[in-house]
Assembly symmetry: C2
């Protein structure tokens, strides 16, 4: 018998209860044991809620009940969620969460605490919502040296970019539209500035490469500088613009970054639209594989948390083995990363650009006096050196 406590009865928390209750019989049968919710922790009352009798307001009721072996932390944030997670783990209760902020901030510490106490800290739902990606990285790809990770892992920004492209609407208009639909928060900074993706790519990279990538070390740009003019050029390139979290292993060096990228039709990520998410993983012998699905949403996210609950229930008293070690992964300076660049320059002429950048693919300008082009492969350092002499309207990195 595995008794579960859910901390926080908001969107994800109530989803967790719903998934367990909906598929209760099937889950019990597959686990070979009864898995059920015993407590729901929330400060609020929920009169009339079908699970009203499980609501408790005092976390100690949960922590002091030895019957509770699995805790789902669905509170969010890195305050009380951090304290409660530590308390649960230190009492040998496994913790399953979708809380990417907490995982990105304290992952190695919490994993170590779980190991010490013969339980697990699992977070399948923290990246890519319902997409199975964390567990595959740790169980299906152990034979691979991952050489690249590229993820469209923020539904809000992907929705905004998709709408800008399809409807020719500008960033501000689409953002307001996304806010009214509930796809973007009232304060959208974490999404549009890339901070959400920064945490997720740090977690995914730590799992893929085995050592800790701390999120604050990942250079991050958001999508606020992308305009509908940029999308006009994309039509010429048969390409689109996506906010990618990406990391790479190349010539013994690790790189990571979050930024908008130009993706051509050949990329498997090209067609990942609206609020959908996908993560493309490249292994040194496997080549590309991609994991696609709903990157957010109540039930998909909750379903991923429950997949963790099931793994804990099937392995009582054990720590699920993972790949993420506490040692820091040294990220190399992006100035050394090589790629092509899509560039728009004002107040210049094609000849000056060609003299400075060498061979480029010229595009048909959208404005008089603008020169738009794609460079050959060069380092970011070279690009910056050369571009500093020009009046750059926008630069977006090419994915390939």
């Amino acid at each position: 018998m595995a008794k579960v406590a859910v901390l926080g009865y908001g969107t994800v928390g109530s989803g967790i209860v719903e998934v367990i209750k909906t598929n209760q019989e099937l889950i019990n049968q597959r686990v070979g044991d009864e898995v059920d919710v015993k407590y729901i922790l929330d400060l609020r009352e929920f009169p009339g809620d079908p699970y009203e009798d499980m609501i408790v307001h005092d976390v100690n009721v949960i922590m002091d009940d030895p019957e509770v072996t699995i805790v789902c932390e669905a509170m969010g944030g890195i305050g009380a969620a951090y304290q409660f997670t530590k308390t649960a783990l230190s009492k040998g209760k496994s913790v399953c969460t979708s809380n990417k902020a907490l995982v990105a901030e304290y992952g190695p510490e919490l994993l170590a605490l779980a190991k010490e106490n013969h339980c697990s800290y699992l977070f399948e739902a923290s990246c890519g919502g319902g997409i199975p990606i964390i567990r595959p990285l740790q169980t299906c790809l152990l034979q691979e040296q991952v050489v690249a990770l590229k993820g469209i892992i923020n539904g809000t920004t992907n929705y905004i970019l998709t709408k800008m492209e399809l409807e020719g609407a500008d960033f501000e208009t689409v953002l307001k539209d996304a806010q009214s639909l509930g796809y973007a928060e009232a304060n959208p900074e974490a999404d549009i500035e890339g901070y959400d993706v920064q945490r997720k790519i740090a977690i995914l990279s730590s799992l893929a490469f085995g050592n800790t990538v701390f999120y604050k070390d990942v250079p991050t740009e958001g999508i606020t500088k992308i305009t509908i003019d940029d999308f006009k050029y994309m039509k010429q390139l048969k390409a689109t613009i996506k906010l990618l979290g990406m990391s790479r292993y190349e010539d013994g060096k690790y790189f990571a970054m979050v930024a908008p990228f130009v993706l051509t039709k050949e990329s498997p990520l090209y067609n990942v639209s609206d609020v959908m998410n996908a993560i493309l993983v490249t292994g040194n012998t496997l080549g590309d594989s991609m994991f696609y699905g709903a990157g957010a949403g109540k039930l998909p996210t909750a379903s991923a948390v429950v997949s963790d609950v099931i793994e804990c229930a099937m392995n009582p008293g054990k720590t699920i083995k993972g790949t993420w070690k506490p040692e820091k992964l040294e990220l190399s300076d992006l100035s050394d990363a090589k790629r092509r660049f899509f560039v728009r320059i004002a107040n210049a002429n094609e000849e000056a650009v060609k003299v400075a950048f060498g061979h480029v693919q010229m595009l048909e300008p959208v404005y008089d006096g603008e020169v738009a082009f794609v460079t050959d492969v060069m380092t970011e350092r070279s690009y910056k050196d050369i571009a500093s002499a020009f009046d750059v309207v926008n630069m977006i990195r090419m994915d390939s």
Copy 2:
């Protein structure tokens, strides 16, 4: 120390050795133990091969060596491969394979034999080549009632259909081209008649639904009746044609089939082109998730086998728990399955079609005297009853 024997030194077998040797250090570190190849069984000699000294011709050398705890069966077929797999499992040696024919024919028996002998029978590479799909189905989706599986899981036919669409070339021409490139066998029947997909969807459905779907029970149509004229109509529908292995759980009934389907641009499978494969899994709470990658090829397939080797090496003396039970899954008669149908009829007029089929979406005919249309949702039984009165040129089921 986990010593591995590879049975069969052909494409996949040599790939397995290559993956293990290439990533040896990383694999050892992740397993926490040394994993290495000790024997390679093949009837042929391989003078000058770097692993020549591991070649043995007598399978008993492997079976009688207690140091060998993991056997990779890369022989193919259901003759000697079946015998050797049984011998290995009965001696407590885990077996990892890409042999879909053997898994589809004897899966439940071999899984039971493994369990009896405290070892595992794993086959990640049997469906979708290098795509992680078997393990995710058994570890990431246990909280889900799978309601639909749809797979583009044969690279040969996907290559042929992609070329027909993009180049407007006919089936026979593209098939010859595929044969000369090595994408199709000299005897292409297993691919183009859908028998390869039939085995794979039977395996995937058995894992997803938990009871055994026997491949011969899955109604199967290949792609030989697809013509370039069909693709002309697809442009009008903003759609394409893909050979799908699919199964569904609907109103308490299970359906499975292999057939060409019309996929519109909205389907995540629409853009899976050339030899790439993808499997779309729909769960009752998760919704859609898709797994995409190289469905064949030496190293991707070998990589998937080695992922199984690693799981066995991390769990010595244990049987990896799976979802596939020996009880037969009763498949319902497809006549009850409901969908829309793309239909081409010769020697008829639009009025007669409308009278017979009711509301339809008429298409612009490619030939004089042909009527082409998409029906509303109806059962296969209704479709067949009505269509029997007409001279049907071709019918392709709509995916949605």
